[in-house]
């Protein structure tokens, strides 16, 4: 059904769905470490930023196609993910301390990039639009739509596959009771590291899409905490640690954010959609702590 949307609806729907897929992709990538393994990373913007800047620089300065550059960006993001994971898990940082470690690394990245002239500094880095598909640039917005759709389906496929494997089971077990896992002989450090690496790699790939969809990168928005929050909130509202949760979350929140931005911002009502986000987050924590998807799934099973 989804592949048919562009031919039926107008261009605004195409933009909207592209964003739904893209944030669904990011939420799903976060879900691996934040949802399944229960390690609340609030610094995923750092991975996205690294992927975005890497792909953009490689393409603009060296002429390397982003189709390849996105994997280089993903790999570099995974290097940072490995470092953060190693420090966080090796030194046993949990809960708030782990959150703060991830935030600190994202902020350090933001400050460094803002102060690096070669990367455009605080003003940002801009990509000139050429419309060359080999450089991940498309005249037709529908191309982005399909790329984002494929990305979202691919990562969801990966997560669905992992969930059934031993790896996924271990991750959920770590989330539920880490010490019990260790007592049973599971190498929790190893599985948390793998989850972090995979999650950061995928988020880095997402960064390349971000760069070539928006054509401008500002350190404050690409590496900023608000972006990390945007990613987390979709997974949490939809249902962290479930295959369809982050996707559902994106279907709920992305249109809300877009419409609010479109209508409220015109009336000078800045921040209205974020108030709604905040209220939703509070409501979900208090009344629906497992997220929307598990509740819906139970309703339909009856």
């Amino acid at each position: 059904m989804l592949p048919l949307v562009p031919s039926v609806f107008g261009s605004y729907a195409v933009t909207l769905f592209t964003l739904i897929f893209f944030y669904g992709f990011l939420g799903q990538a976060w879900n691996i470490v934040g949802g399944y393994a229960g390690q609340l990373s609030a610094g995923h913007a750092a991975f996205l930023g690294i992927g975005a800047y890497t792909a953009a620089l490689l393409s603009v300065e060296r002429g390397v196609t982003p189709w390849l550059g996105m994997f280089v960006g993903g790999a570099l993001a995974a290097v940072l993910g490995t470092l953060i994971g190693f420090l966080g898990f090796r030194f046993g940082l949990r809960g708030f301390y782990f959150v703060l470690l991830t935030v600190a690394f994202a902020e350090i990245c933001r400050i460094i990039v803002s102060n690096t002239e070669a990367l455009g500094g605080a003003v940002g880095y801009y990509i000139t639009f050429t419309g060359d598909p080999r450089q991940f640039q498309f005249q037709d917005a529908r191309a982005y739509y399909y790329v984002a759709l494929v990305m979202m389906l691919a990562v969801t496929g990966i997560v669905a596959w992992l969930e059934r494997r031993r790896f996924g089971v271990y991750l959920s077990a770590i989330r539920e009771d880490e010490s019990a896992c260790e007592a049973l002989g599971v190498n929790t450090f190893r599985y948390k590291m793998l989850a972090m690496m995979l999650s950061s790699f995928l988020t880095g790939i997402g960064g390349a899409f971000y760069a070539f969809y928006l054509f401008s990168l500002q350190p404050a928005s690409v590496f900023g905490i608000p972006l990390s929050v945007e990613i987390i909130i979709r997974a949490i509202v939809g249902g962290a640690g479930t295959v369809l949760g982050p996707i559902l979350g994106s279907f709920i929140l992305s249109p809300l954010a877009e419409l609010a931005r479109y209508y409220f911002a015109q009336g000078g009502w800045h921040g209205a959609h974020l108030v709604v986000y905040g209220l939703l987050l509070i409501a979900v924590v208090l009344f629906l702590p497992e997220g929307a998807y598990p509740r819906l799934a139970r309703l339909f099973r009856r």
């Binding site: 420090l87 940082l93 600190a104 400050i111 800045h270 921040g271 986000y277 905040g278 987050l281 924590v285």
Partner: protein
Amino acid sequence: MLFGGVFSLMAVGLTLIFGVMRVVNFAHGDMMVWGMYLAWLMATRGGVDPYLGFVVCAAALFVLGFVVQRVLVQRIVDAPHEMQILLMLGVALVLENLALLLFGPEPQRVRSALAQSTVWLGPVFVDVARLIAFAVAVLLTLLLSLFLYRTDVGRSIRAAADNPYGALVIGTDVRRVYAVAFGVGAACVGAAGALVAPLLPFQPPMGLQLSVASFNIVIIGGMGSLLGAFVGGLIVAVAESLGAVFLKPSLKELVSFSLLVLILLFRPAGIFGRRAS
């Protein structure tokens, strides 16, 4: 350096809330921003100087903190950390963006008659406003410790922090104490907001940065330790101004974040904290 006093006051508020109910107030910086805007409202509408108005800001934020605790935080005191963090993040989003809706994104500044004058203090020029902000912040921190150690309410707050069940057994209304502690913590940061309002332009999105800055300080000083928060505030202020002098002003935050990472890894209980069980 003189900002250190205000940094300290805001961190003291955060550490009080954490020390008592083990909840990290992610809306801390946004509460500070509300303190700033209240000072601004009073100054522009009523002509009240922020260096008097901070008392009203503290009182208003006390009420806000009390209500937030009663209505929301009380329900998740025993929930997993992740849930608490997400709830407070929700509160932070609401507070920050309500400020954005009401006051708009333009940076504001409060004028105080004192902000223009300077005095010679030994070998250096000092802003009177900064000096007052520093002195009042230190005074409030001292008052807070007197309150905690010398009054009945203060003693019951410390009792509930040490052992909530024990406090409950001897007849303390722990839920009420929690709400009061949250209110006092919010009042600290509200006063801190009013005190810095004349010193720097502010806008709603600053809340998040201020929250992160106070987390930095509290972690560096030691979660839950009042002395740690106070000294941590001074340390971070000095480290940032040294960073601004020796590196680049825009790199000064890098210093405190690097300090944070090091402390997290090698001394997660902070400089003055006891290791959390």
